[in-house]
């Protein structure tokens, strides 16, 4: 029994990384913008988390640092895609590389210039029943996102921006502002999750610290049919699978290659999308996702 409890708590402590990033990405995609930069933004947030911790010696300010780092990337993404209507996929790739490269690059520079720092975190996050506070934050975030998206006026604006921005524009909604805010807050959340990864879980920084978690978060948004509750459950599901796989691997009785488990979220997305479309259902994909909205063009 204690084994199961410790297993569950370790999953729940690991979960916020994927869950918060998924929530942030969900917000961005609901407004109609692809967040292909997710992996890079997470790395950027991870670096800023560690660096801010070094500067201020506080885990909470470190999280804030990651949040603001994500905001910066989000601001660039928003400007390029919303204001200038550049292709979202290519811009996403560009920002992914820039952000991830900058994170590693700045880390090298920081290590070169600041000789006495170790850039590790020695304190943990406060817990309740040995479950991280941040887990509860991610749970609240999920509920908040659901509430905002379905029950508030601003959430409606976000959804319209993702479904048919032209109609929203005719109705007098400021699509640009809506998308800007969604992208910036969404990417800020991704940065926050990266900071939690480096400061809360791994308690250090290294290149490839993100190791695909950003893309798993991206896949989970699709797998969860762009609904906050599904996405959160999907994040728990994949965190559990990863946890099981790690334990099996450690104890030596893993019966399938570890790479298969890593690939599982992506395979699951393709299968899920196929089945839903095959059955004629609604994938939940925002129809305007990926399409540029230009007010001047008729």
């Amino acid at each position: 029994m204690p084994i199961i409890i410790s297993f569950v708590t370790s999953i729940l402590n690991m979960l916020p990384v994927i869950a918060i990033a998924s929530m942030g990405g969900l917000l961005i995609q609901k407004s109609g913008i692809y967040n292909i930069d997710v992996e890079g933004t997470m790395a950027f947030g991870a670096f800023l988390g560690i660096f801010t911790y070094y500067l201020f010696n506080s885990i909470w300010i470190a999280l804030l640092g990651g949040f603001m780092g994500g905001m910066l990337i989000g601001a660039i993404l928003a400007t390029l895609t919303v204001r200038y209507n550049l292709d979202q996929i290519v811009t996403g790739f560009g920002l992914w590389f820039i952000a991830e490269g900058s994170a590693a690059f700045l880390f090298v520079v920081a290590r070169a210039h600041i000789k006495d720092a170790t850039f590790t975190v020695s304190e943990g996050f406060p817990t309740f029943l040995s479950i991280n506070y941040i887990f509860f934050f991610s749970l609240i975030l999920c509920c908040l996102l659901y509430f905002i998206l379905t029950k508030t006026k601003e959430g409606l604006y976000v959804r319209i921006a993702g479904i048919d921005p032209r109609v929203g524009d005719y109705a007098g909604i400021d699509i640009f502002k809506t998308r800007y805010i969604s992208v910036i807050i969404g990417d800020a959340l991704v940065g926050l999750s990266g900071a939690f990864l480096s400061v809360g879980i791994l308690q250090s920084f290294s290149y490839r610290i993100v190791a695909g978690y950003g893309w798993i978060a991206f896949a989970i948004i699709l797998f969860g049919k762009w609904k906050p509750s599904n996405v959160f459950l999907g994040a728990i599901f994949f965190a559990a699978i990863t946890g099981i796989q790690t334990r099996l691997q450690v104890s030596g009785i893993l019966f399938m290659p570890v790479q298969f488990v890593v690939a599982l979220p992506y395979i699951a997305v393709v299968i899920a999308l196929t089945i839903v479309n095959f059955l004629g259902g609604d994938t939940g994909m925002p129809p305007a996702l990926g399409k540029a909205f230009n007010r001047e063009k008729l």
Binding site: G94, W96, A99, E100, G101, A263, Y266, V270, N277
Partner: protein, 338 residues
């Protein structure tokens, strides 16, 4: 006629200028923050890539798979099928080549031919997943191709760590393919794979512009519904399109293994799958410009890698690649601002 030429020169000039400044400014930042002399950075980046023999051969080595992948993407993009799964398709080409060359004991030329055929098949099938999902059930191909990349990454990671792992060496990789199966060199690192790549240019150009399949591709790309009403079997066209695109990208993987890397290792795709998107975008949908754009992109990458020697951290290459992505699509921005 004169006006058209002037327009093209204008476009080319704008692109080159944007790229030039988007490299120069980071170089200036690097120079200031790391205390490296800007003149050294500048000369190292621009001169030693095109000016030296080693630099030129390095560019050509990268140019080859990049060109093939860009041609593969052109086929897809002409049909408005946004194939961002080229990375995965390249990997399947590499897997096919490694599977054949490392495990079969036949005459080398047969092995090479089999590699090409098997690679085209695997890459085509991998591309067909997204193609058929789009054609039959209208599944958006962007997430599908993107996700399948990561599945392919894990597959090759598994193969090089477990069943095909080489006993020597520190990091996971396969053993090298036998000497006889490697494509003959023309001038040290540059080998005959470049001939194959360049030979594909007219093939693809003819395919897209002079065949009925090419016409159908372009018609579906223009407007799928109109093409359908015209009597074109759009489902077949889209699926065929992805088979060709995936197969071609896989051929790039063959060329990488047979001509450059000679084995399977982590990062074998060298991001060519994503860089090819930039190449196609720079070429502004004109197939003739693709070789030039591929050469340009290859030079930029080689230049960035060359900076490592003078003390720039290697992660800078990644940042520069990212800036290149955005720089390649900004000309559209300038048109808007006019």
């Amino acid at each position: 006629m004169n006006h058209l030429v002037k327009q093209q020169v204008n476009d080319a000039a704008i692109i080159l200028l944007i790229i030039f400044f988007s490299i120069l400014i980071p170089l200036i930042i690097i120079s200031l923050s790391l205390n490296i002399d800007l003149k050294i950075l500048f000369s190292r980046y621009f001169y030693s890539t095109i000016g030296t023999r080693d630099g030129l051969t390095a560019i050509l080595v990268r140019f080859t798979p990049l060109l093939v992948t860009a041609l593969a993407l052109t086929v897809a993009f002409k049909s408005s099928v946004w194939n961002i799964g080229a990375e995965g398709q390249i990997i399947f080409g590499a897997i096919a080549t490694l599977g054949i060359c490392l495990h079969l004991n036949l005459h080398p030329i047969i092995l090479i031919l089999l590699s090409f055929i098997f690679a085209f098949f695997l890459g085509g099938m991998w591309g067909l997943i997204a193609g058929s999902l789009k054609a039959l059930w209208n599944v958006n191909e962007i997430p599908v191709t993107l996700m399948l990349n990561f599945v392919a990454y894990e597959l090759i990671r598994y193969l090089i760590s477990s069943p095909w792992k080489s006993p020597e060496g520190l990091y996971p990789a396969t053993i090298r393919i036998p000497f006889e199966t490697r494509l003959p060199f023309i001038e040290s690192p540059v080998n005959s794979s470049i001939i194959i790549a360049i030979a594909l240019i007219p093939v693809i150009y003819l395919l897209i512009n002079k065949t009925s399949l090419g016409f159908e591709l372009r018609a579906v790309g223009f407007n799928r519904d109109i093409a359908h009403y015209q009597g074109i079997n759009t489902k077949k066209t889209i699926m065929t399109c992805m088979i060709i695109s995936g197969g071609l990208a896989a051929l790039a993987g063959v060329l990488i293994v047979l001509g450059d890397v000679f084995r399977g290792e982590e990062g074998i795709t060298g991001s060519y799958g994503f860089l090819a998107i930039v190449v196609v975008l720079i070429s502004r949908n004109r197939a003739e410009l693709i070789p030039l754009a591929a050469f340009l992109v290859a030079s930029i990458i080689v230049g960035a890698i060359g900076l490592i020697v003078v003390g720039v951290p290697r992660r800078f290459t990644e940042i520069l690649t990212g800036i290149l992505f955005i720089a390649a699509i900004t000309p559209k921005l300038l048109e808007k601002l006019k």
